[in-house]
Symmetry: C3
Subunit: 141 residues, 3 copies
């Protein structure tokens, strides 16, 4: 068994931009011909996170409203007193959701539900180019 | 080292039904005779999640009240405007807790604390049959 | 490929004590000479959690205030009615953040951002000695 490590690079708009990574991850698994195993994902940086959700416009809006309600972007945070970047809210949101995720691979496919997608959440207060590490491990037959 | 992939099937009642999976997972580890390694779990579907907690009736009630306070089931979500299933709250709760979890295996046992159990949280608004993928990897001696 | 399992032992002060584990984890990876692979972490116990964040005093304060705002320590929880330890809030906070985390290893180093550290959050209401399981898997070249 081997670990194949690669990077997904994503341009985001920040402000709780939510990006569906499912097709890209699935494509890499097929390229490595892994039949059974595990895909692990990790987003580098402290203002972005990974989770799964049904990727449809209504829920995308709901997630944006949820994080704004709990961790408002117009509130002052201690982080902002120390640093000029005013993105304390981005950091807090990212730590709650968390940067890591894993999904099993079964019969060459991600074991996701039909309405379950892998998403990158960029909480920063500006556009970013994000790196998501993807590690695929498993057997080719 | 090999990955053993299997499914746990759980009947749930939805509405933040919380189910202790610990005994089942431990049993599978013993069956595979894995002494040291890693158990990774993943729940298929976008309205359920996994975490660990002390599984006792008081805390089960506390978790139900917590999610109801933050992401109320009687609020209207954008997801509900688009779909007739009225479970926007279920999706949001699931995305915050997350679908994946891993627990080390040490001396043939899950490295959990005495008061720490693996739980499946079903946030959907109806009874479901859930599939939790369990992957066990490691060495048999 | 092998899994190296070890324990990090941390003395904490509880009450949302936040401890930076990054240097210790990096040191263990170098000791095992793993070039490419995966570090998985898991905290034993149901009142502590793991995540990543920029470890600086302002954000440490922000995280403390965030959890106090959402899951207050002076509220009564059902867990407290059953047990005398009055740490229902600690349990709830831990379950939301979650006990497990993984970080890829690339070129012998954790694939963290410059401002992204691995942190242990101890939510208990007293000082504790915590065990964090660290599993390192991967290739030495």
């Amino acid at each position: 068994m081997k670990i194949h490590t690669q990077k997904l690079v994503e341009k985001t708009r920040g402000f709780c931009d939510i990006i569906d990574l499912t097709a890209k991850v699935q494509e890499r698994i097929q390229k490595e011909k892994i039949q059974r195993g595990l895909a692990t994902l990790f987003v580098t940086g402290s203002t972005a996170a990974l989770t799964t959700m049904e990727y449809e416009p209504g829920l995308v809006e709901d997630v944006k409203e949820l994080v704004e309600r709990f961790i408002p972007s117009n509130k002052k945070y201690h982080h902002d007193d120390r640093w000029g970047d005013d993105n304390g809210f981005s950091h807090l949101r990212a730590s709650v959701f968390g940067p890591s995720l894993h999904i099993p691979i079964d019969n060459g496919r991600l074991a996701l539900g039909t309405w379950q997608q892998i998403v990158l959440l960029d909480f920063d207060n500006r556009a970013r180019t994000r790196e998501v590490m993807l590690q695929i491990m498993g057997d080719t037959e």
